[in-house]
Symmetry: C2
Subunit: 398 residues, 2 copies
């Protein structure tokens, strides 16, 4: 039994199956490099979140807004809309436009982003019903000039943050002053600015971390606690948006996030306030619903290391190289044979273009393909054409 | 006098001029976010390299192959072809195709890359005259099967490497065994493979580092010395390619690379061997020939820090965020007024999306634009559409 194995991702008679299909067939049909996404898995992940929130004593409604920057593949967005189970968290005018082209209505979209240009505000003003969270006092004023008398959210910064393994590159809100949101020190000025424009502040938005798992939940809750202060300053608040950041296991030693504990923390913090709780998962919905299909290009010992080359590099899935989030390589065929050690490397001319060091795989001499798991989020959506190696296939499975 | 100031990038009556044009005019005409490249500066950089190599006692010819992955903007490539002063270093079949579409002939292109797929070899086989450097024994065999009896280069790995500030993310060939090239331990097997296919090994290729400046030259030379061993093993070698890696100053404390010292090291190592010396600069030609034009989006104090937001993020120029190579922000208008401190930040919803911390700039309250210098290499060519914020303008100036 492999740590990543589950009902819709496991071996059947020695062949890897994903979403009910043989991965051997998928590499032939889709081609490499190629991303395949399981809509079934995305919806399971979404249902799991809804169920945990339903079970917790929230004493108010909740809603899920999918952070589309994680994966904006149009068929996936269209299927999410079809499910009726979530709205959208968008962070640029083009994202709003794309979500709408995939079937969402403007009033199902919540917009949160910083450093918006005059052109951005102009583009956003087209979408009646779009809910806007201001990330700065400047943003409150800019929105107020266009839509005086409407509702608005404020993104606040609790001055604390967490991430998987304390990864600084993913630190959103910690000791260091970041660009995100409005701090306590400026919050009353922000509320005054909203009043000046007759804006009703009905939502407090904050994002506390990235990729957190069960061990980080106590810190996560203490950060949420910090945010209570902001809610208390503002009688008109009816919604609280705690952002996303829910992590998935990347390596064998990671445990899946305990959603019950997570939802209970939300209930402890907000259950007696009658607030509508919003969450904005991105990775949590799509990351483990995506595989990256790769073809072996070569196998060769260099000095003392066995290298297994593949036909794509970090430019089409930057998390392993740029964020130190490993994508476990998994063989297409496996029948308990002995394992060997490989450095799995890509085809980009950069030292950081290494998919996985010391991967344990069966003898890859006779194998042509392998897959990387957890490739469903922040991969294709962040792909570049570096070295003109930016081509890949994408397919949504049932 | 600013550290980055030079004849074609300086203030005239308080207005920044670049390549003979007012940057105030450029932001209006080109738009933001926008990259502007000075072809004049690129050719100056190229001439400086040629002159240094001409002046050194190389006792053989030399040639410059532009590493097009640094910047493949078609007008820039076409102008390089027009100049007749360099060939191309390509690292993917699409790059070869693009170089040819910009006017280069296949025999002006040297191809060096690892992890090539069967499809890649098939695509490359179309280009008669393309010079191929094998990065692995596998590559020697694959090429030999298609072009038995022709010339080939071998990329070797000296097992040592350098980079600016010992930046591990840019480490090409050091103590850690990397995917690049063929090591001593496997070199005789590589030569035997070449013989098996009747391939003449006429070039030894190696890349020693990335972004090195004058202080790193002694280490650089000691690495080159390691490569002599490979050349000595192989009588048929007539060319040596030392790669690129020549750095440009990123911060005030950096000194420009002393090209005379650099060329003298090459002469010491290869001058008495009558070898044709090839170099493959990328950044050195284009980096300081490019500006990124940005529009201010907001100016706001958060906690104790003054943030200056701009209308683009790290996804269109990843070096500052992902490689820790700062792009100095420079105001469009400046007349010796007092300076203030800003964190210059982009419009992407990630903590790492910071252009420059504690930038010293004049009061930006009344200013609408600023530029980042050193944005000409590995910026637009590595751009992604993350957050659907991937749009930018590009223009080549004289």
């Amino acid at each position: 039994m492999h740590w990543w194995q589950r009902e819709d991702l496991c071996y059947q008679d020695g062949v890897l199956f994903f979403a009910g299909q043989s991965v051997a067939d998928l590499v032939r049909e889709v081609g490499t490099p190629g991303f395949v996404y399981s809509m079934g898995r995305v919806l399971q992940n979404l249902d799991r979140l809804h169920n945990a929130l339903d079970d917790a004593d929230l004493n108010g409604r909740h809603s899920v807004l999918y952070a589309m920057k994680a994966n904006r593949f149009a068929p996936l967005l269209a299927a999410l809309k079809q499910s009726g189970k979530c709205g959208i968290d968008a962070c640029s005018p083009r994202e709003v436009e794309h979500a709408i082209s995939c079937g969402f209505n403007a009033n199902e979209i919540s917009f949160t982003a910083g450093s918006l240009s005059r052109r951005d505000y102009r583009l956003l003003s087209r979408y009646e019903g779009l809910f806007f969270d201001a990330d700065s006092i400047h943003g409150i004023r800019a929105w107020g000039e266009m839509f005086s008398g409407t509702e608005i959210g404020i993104r606040v910064n609790p001055g604390m943050g967490i991430s998987r393994d304390g990864n600084e590159r993913l630190q959103y809100a910690g000791d260091v002053t970041t660009k995100f949101g409005i701090y306590r020190e400026q919050f009353h000025e922000a509320l005054a600015a909203a009043r000046d424009y007759g804006l009703d502040v009905t939502k407090i938005h904050f994002h506390t971390g990235c990729g957190f798992l069960t061990p980080q939940l106590p810190i996560w809750e203490s950060i949420i606690e910090q945010c209570q202060w902001f809610i208390e300053q503002c009688d008109s608040v009816t919604r609280v948006n705690v952002g996303g950041g829910l992590g998935v296991p990347h390596v064998e030693s990671d445990q899946a996030l305990d959603l019950q504990l997570w939802a209970q923390a939300l209930a402890r913090q907000f259950g007696d306030k009658g607030l509508h709780v919003e969450i904005e998962p991105g990775d949590y919905l799509v990351k483990d619903a995506g595989l990256l299909l790769l073809e072996k290009t070569y196998l060769e010992r260099k000095r003392d290391v066995m290298f297994l080359g593949v036909d794509a590099g970090f430019n089409i899935a930057p998390e392993p190289a740029n964020y130190n989030l490993p994508f476990q390589p998994v063989p297409v065929f496996y029948q308990d044979e002995p394992l060997q050690t490989y450095h799995v490397v890509g085809n980009i001319n950069e030292a950081l273009d290494v998919w996985y060091e010391n991967a344990r795989l069966p003898d890859m001499d006779e194998e042509d393909f392998l897959v990387l798991i957890n490739a469903g989020g922040y991969s294709s959506s962040m792909a570049s054409n570096h070295c003109m190696r930016g081509e890949f296939k994408e397919r949504l499975l049932g």
